[in-house]
């Protein structure tokens, strides 16, 4: 029994790349889910996806300039992500379109541009690396970068937390309270871009958003309180990232998809059996007598 546990859960970490991958995954799991929770609460779940595509051309440019260097690719990704966010904001401010429509247009352009750039300068293996990530590529520099970005995100979130809550709950009230309420939204988008940039190394640009959104959407089935949502989402992300890495190691499958699929399994389980709004909760409600319901 002990041997089996050891073989499954301990011995994989004899390898340096697995140790680095799991630490990177845990750092991401701390930073990404709170952002996801706020995206879900703001009804902006798909914006994360859009932003993930938006960083791709920057990552590709960094790749073309400096090869597979994570810091350079990350800087490119952050710059391009912020640029797209700004452009989308500007287009929607011009009045013609809502921000999500502008965002959708820019992200699909970005995706095409990014794939084009990588294909021009590299091989299809490089493209797969950038799109779907690779734990093997996490070296100490990458790990420091991921940990640094995650720390920055958690600290910034702690500082702007209340402003963010008020903006989600009642944007009109926030506008009334502050002359420059727009900064809350900008800081949030900035954190989003930073997080996706940190995530693409392990998970790839397309999958990085998964570790942000799936734990957050799953948590909605388990808690009705903001602290609860964030806490549960973080735990789910940590379990999925570590579990997914182990699965990928033992079954020899790609790491990014196994992490996200594990988180996806968590989502399906939550949707079926969660405490609130799940299928099981709906069935339970039906059997509750009316009188009890009113008395509660």
């Amino acid at each position: 029994m002990w041997d089996l546990l050891n073989a499954w859960f301990i011995s994989p970490f004899d390898y340096g790349f697995m140790r680095r991958a799991v630490v990177g995954g845990l750092a991401l799991s701390l930073a990404a889910p709170p952002l996801g929770v706020f995206l879900v609460l703001r009804g902006m779940s798909l914006i994360g996806d859009a932003m993930a595509h938006a960083i791709l051309p920057g990552v590709a440019l960094g790749f073309l300039l400096a090869g597979f260097s994570l810091p350079i690719m990350s800087i490119g990704g952050v710059m391009f992500g912020l640029l797209v966010a700004l452009l989308a904001g500007a287009v929607s401010k011009m009045g013609g379109q809502r921000e999500d429509a502008a965002m959708a247009s820019f992200f699909i352009i970005s995706l095409a541009a990014g794939v084009m750039l990588i294909s021009l300068g590299g091989s299809s293996v490089d493209l797969t690396h950038v799109l779907f990530g690779s734990i093997l590529a996490i070296n100490s520099t990458a790990l420091l970068l991921i940990a640094g970005i995650s720390t920055l995100i958690v600290l910034t979130l702690a500082v702007v937390f209340r402003a963010l809550v008020v903006e989600c709950l009642d944007p009109l009230f926030l506008r009334g309270q502050s002359h420059r309420s727009g900064w809350v939204h900008s800081v949030f988008l900035g954190l989003l871009v930073l997080n996706l940039t940190a995530g693409f190394q392990t998970l790839g640009t397309l999958m990085a958003v998964g570790l942000m959104m799936l734990p957050a959407t799953s948590a909605r089935f388990w808690s009705k309180r903001l602290e609860g949502l964030i806490g549960i989402a973080i735990v789910l992300a940590m379990v999925s990232s570590t579990g997914g890495l182990l699965l990928s190691f033992h079954l020899d499958i790609p790491s990014g998809p196994s992490i996200i699929l594990l988180a996806g399994a968590g989502y399906l389980f939550s949707a079926l059996f969660g405490r609130y709004h799940s299928l099981a909760a709906k069935l339970r409600r039906k059997t509750t007598p009316l009188a009890v319901e009113q008395g509660a």
């Binding site: 609460l41 209340r162 009230f173 506008r175 309270q177 809350v184 903001l226 609860g228």
Partner: protein, 244 residues
């Protein structure tokens, strides 16, 4: 000081338009501390437009809004709330967000703020709902919680767009009492009203919007006319005209 106590909010020859169509012209007004002004008029008469202009959300075509109240001491409860009711937040947390002006965005609450929050909830009769999520409140309970936030905010200028719509009569009584207390403490309050009974109980002054113009009338004249002749000078609009 004397200037301030004389007037909190003045409207000078205000001309307002929505989508290039003139809604209101030549609006004059002088709103004093401690006064509750009822804003009345038929649907589409421009009540919400005027409130938007006062809150600085709509730029006048000409004329000006002079407001001496700091932005963070102005409170606006629109009829169509931007409030997200699915947001996982309790009544107490909502009330506490009103402490923003004295407190800033970036620091936590202290014991004094929580004490004040609890006092406010007690005044509004919602202490027992403190930890209830917003989504589970009735219309009246929600309205009380929102007024609680403006009390926390120590609002000096309060604009309410039909605060008594879809609200139970107990809440109406409590809100009328609280609003009067706020006015006695020096707040300037502007309320969009449709109901004659509410107007009679609450308003010190009435600004009537009709045909793109504003007219100041005494509430007694309005209610007296209404009570004796059963004739309203024009349709007050809305769902419930008069108190009947």
């Amino acid at each position: 000081m004397s200037q301030r106590s004389l007037s909190r909010l003045q409207l000078h020859n205000l001309h307002l338009a929505q989508a290039r169509r003139t809604v209101l012209e030549h609006i004059e007004g002088d709103f004093k501390p401690g006064a509750i002004t009822a804003l009345i008029g038929a649907n589409g008469a421009g009540k919400s437009t005027l409130i938007q202009a006062i809150m600085g959300e709509l730029r006048p075509i000409s004329g000006e809004v002079v407001c001496t109240v700091a932005k963070e001491r102005r409170a606006w409860l629109p009829q169509q709330l931007a409030l997200d009711l699915t947001f996982p937040m309790s009544v107490e947390e909502l009330v506490m967000t009103g402490s923003w002006p004295s407190h800033g965005a970036l620091t936590g609450y202290c014991a004094g703020h929580y004490r004040k929050g609890r006092e406010i909830m007690a005044r509004l009769g919602i202490s027992h709902l403190a930890h209830r999520p917003l989504g589970e409140l009735s219309g009246g309970q929600r309205q009380r919680a929102l007024i609680g936030r403006t009390l926390m905010q120590e609002a000096e200028l309060l604009l309410l767009d039909e605060p008594f719509a879809n609200v139970d009569s107990e809440t109406v009584d409590i809100l009328i009492r609280i609003l009067r207390q706020m006015a006695d403490d020096g707040a300037t309050i502007i309320v969009v009203l449709h109901d004659m009974d509410h107007l009679r109980r609450l308003a010190d002054e009435v600004l009537m919007l009709n045909g793109g113009h504003g007219r100041w009338v005494a509430p007694s004249a309005l209610t007296h006319q209404h009570a004796t002749a059963q004739v309203v000078p024009f349709s007050l609009g809305g769902r419930h005209v008069g108190s009947a």
